[in-house]
């Protein structure tokens, strides 16, 4: 039921593998070109900026079309209109993926999201009042996006589907009131663990090579979800918001201990597993979770003022990172601090933009009386200096 020919998708994976091998100097650039010529790919998958641009324009086109057709019909039959648009978007999606061979071009992502929104909204409109909207919506979104993931190998749809399934579990928990508060985290954990196992099992199969990116994302998302589901803050605070009408009862003491232990230990396990299996992404997730744990702890037991904590953590992070760069000069435990990529993509420009955004306007905050726009320009006569 794939929309693309499996050969093409497999060839695309071969291209990526060949590029990576060439990056590490395992095959020559000439060989890479040869391989790419042999396994032809006729798909249109542009650069990320083009993708964003095309995606934005597609949003624009869909919205303007809805406005136009809606005005013509005076919005008299909204359900019919939405189903019509879902069908229209689907026809367009089939055309651009089938005939025009778009694959992750930005246009296809937006059309898929549009179809999901139109169908879900239309069905919610059709059904009588009194039905649990959230529950139904999350099921619908999860199912449609799963079908899209499987038939278009679209990684974004994999994420949408996962999030919708998690939302379904949370919505389902609402029915059970207070008791679900205790059980919900565990159900979520089981769900995350289940997705993780399925992804690990299916990923290594060569038949599923075109899903490998989506499966990898799902794997990481499930690892993160597993931690978040048992995080002390999330369970305590958010469950009160998600499940309204229940008394803000204190959780049993034992349960609280368990949550704290979970919050503290799981990130360390992630990090350790990441190091053991040489999985950089898992390491990154582990460090992210450690940061979340520190924030959680600080929320309940505030030791330092925020700015002192920032300064101290900044100093510690710099020292730790520096020591690691020294320590990993020679490979240790399968990790190394060295730019192994032969054809390093130049990220210095991007770095510059990010530095300007994060550090750039620093000086303005420490000069309260300098008012930009008015004072520093006109008042100081700086303009005459040219």
């Amino acid at each position: 039921m794939l929309a693309y020919s499996t050969t093409t998708l497999e060839n695309l994976a071969i291209h990526e593998a060949a590029e990576e091998a060439a990056d590490f100097n395992l095959i020559s650039s000439q060989k890479e070109t040869e391989i790419k010529a042999q396994y032809a790919v006729d798909l249109y998958s542009p650069n990320i900026f083009v993708r964003i641009g095309l995606g934005l324009l597609t949003v624009f086109i869909v919205l303007a079309s809805v406005g136009l057709v809606g005005l013509m019909t005076n919005f008299s039959a909204p359900v019919f209109l939405m189903l019509l648009f879902a069908a229209g978007c689907f026809a367009l999606l089939s055309y651009i993926t089938g005939t025009r061979k778009h694959f992750s071009s930005g246009v296809d992502h937006v059309l898929m999201v549009a179809i999901i929104i139109f169908i879900t909204a239309a069905l919610l409109q059709m059904l009588p009042q009194g039905i649990n909207d959230d529950l139904l919506a999350s099921v619908l979104v999860a199912m449609i996006s799963l079908v899209f993931f499987l038939s278009f190998a679209d990684s974004i749809m994999a994420i949408v589907s996962f999030v919708a399934m998690a939302a379904f579990i949370v919505n389902f928990g609402k029915y059970f009131g207070t008791s679900s508060k205790l059980i919900l985290p565990f159900i979520m954990m089981v769900f995350a663990a289940g997705v993780y196992v399925v992804c690990r099992r299916t990923k290594s199969d060569r038949k599923n090579v075109y899903y490998s990116k989506g499966l990898r994302l799902l794997e990481l998302l499930s690892v993160l979800t597993f931690y978040v589901a048992g995080n002390y803050y999330v369970v305590n605070k958010l469950s009160n918001q998600i499940i309204p009408g229940t008394p803000n009862a204190l959780l049993p003491q034992l349960y609280q201990y368990f949550l704290w232990a979970f919050t503290l230990v799981v990130p360390l396990i992630y990090l350790a597993a990441g190091i053991k299996y040489k999985d950089v992404l898992l390491c990154r997730l582990g460090i992210l979770c450690i940061a979340l744990t520190i924030l959680t702890y600080r929320y309940y037991y505030s030791i330092l003022s925020p700015e002192a904590a920032m300064l101290l953590s900044g100093v510690l992070i710099c020292i730790a990172a520096y020591l690691l760069t020294r320590f990993l000069k020679q490979p240790k435990a399968g990790f190394i601090f060295k730019n192994l990529n032969r054809r390093k993509k130049d990220t210095a420009n991007l770095e510059g933009v990010i530095i300007a955004e994060t550090f750039g306007h620093r000086q303005t905050s420490s000069q309260p009386e300098t008012t930009f726009g008015g004072g520093s320009f006109g008042g100081a006569g700086a303009g005459d200096r040219y």
Partner: protein, 328 residues
């Protein structure tokens, strides 16, 4: 890497068994690089450090003691610059590789500490008195000199941000629209003027081979600033909007050619989107003035938007194929 794919390539006879074996060994035994990870962590550390320090000084100005703060900041700052001066291979017109990993970060840290120090001296002691222009001018010069001498694109971005602040504009992409009041005529004029200066700086650095790799940073700021200021000019100088539009299209065409020449998808896409916004503004404005009340006008506008957006999608896709080997 997926070994099964290489097995397939091997079966098809494109790589020999030895290469396949190499790849398998690499996959199993080669160490994983945490190069970019640690660099990002270092950035995060410096960000936290300087932000925290800035807030602490700001909050505790009276209790810590002014002299102590100034001395501590000055020592930190001097220490950073002393270290990098010792290590620096000296000024060169071309790209200079950093002598070690920490080097770039120490340059950045030194600059950030310097900014905190100068800001503090201005607030507490009125270092530049009432000449507030000087309070941004001096750091700007220091940042530019540092960026060029130590070859640091991040510091260059900060210097350009400071240059813009000196002229009176917030320039970083996220703040461009948020912090500036583009109703003000001065901002529009200085915006257009500054953007021309920035683009010229980019072109000159490429042509004269003077820190060629700095060109993109100038272009990035220049493009955004030019288009936002020029589109604002069309709206504000209502009676002259056609003149401004012609100017914008002419300059836009030049920038479009420049983006293609720079092999930059990023610059190409933003040019296309900004020009589209300008064109749509003119067309919708005319459609509205053509028929003020009628419903037909709304239909026309919507049809225009749909047709033109489809046209732009096709234009971008067609051009996309002509840009090869593109970077940012």
């Amino acid at each position: 890497m997926n070994i099964s794919l290489f097995k397939k390539i091997n079966d098809d006879g494109l790589i020999d068994a030895a290469t396949l074996h190499n790849i398998e060994t690499h996959e199993k035994t080669a160490p994983v690089s945490v190069y970019s990870d640690l660099l990002i962590v270092l950035y995060a550390g410096i960000f936290l450090l300087t932000t925290g320090l800035g807030i602490i000084i700001y909050k505790n100005m009276d209790s810590i003691g002014h002299t102590a703060i100034v001395i501590a900041l000055a020592i930190g700052c001097l220490g950073c610059f002393y270290y990098v001066l010792q290590k620096s291979p000296g000024f060169r017109l071309t790209k200079v590789e950093s002598p070690n990993v920490l080097y770039d970060y120490i340059v950045l840290l030194g600059c950030l500490l310097l900014l905190i120090l100068l800001g503090y001296l201005q607030v507490q002691y009125g270092l530049f008195g009432n000449r507030l222009g000087m309070a941004t001018f001096v750091p700007m010069v220091v940042l530019f000199v540092t960026a060029y001498y130590f070859d640091h694109i991040g510091v260059l971005s900060m210097a350009i941000t400071n240059l813009a602040a000196w002229v009176g504009i917030s320039i970083t992409p996220l703040r461009l629209l948020k912090d500036n009041n583009f109703n003000s005529h001065t901002i529009i004029f200085s915006g257009v003027f500054l953007s021309i200066v920035l683009i010229a700086a980019a072109l000159l650095s490429e042509q004269k081979n003077f820190k060629k790799h700095f060109a993109f940073t100038y272009k990035n700021f220049g493009y955004h600033l030019f288009f936002v200021a020029a589109i604002a000019a069309m709206v504000v100088f209502n009676s002259l909007y056609l003149v401004v539009f012609i100017f914008l299209v002419a300059a836009g065409f030049f920038l479009y050619k420049l983006a293609l020449k720079s092999h930059s998808f990023y610059l190409f896409v933003i040019t296309a989107l900004y020009l589209y916004a300008a064109l749509s503004y003119v067309i919708i404005k005319n459609l509205v003035s053509f028929d003020r009340q009628g419903e037909a006008m709304i239909y026309l506008i919507l049809m225009y938007l749909i047709a033109s957006a489809i046209g732009l999608v096709m234009f971008i896709m067609k051009n996309n194929k002509t840009i090869k080997n593109a970077g940012l």
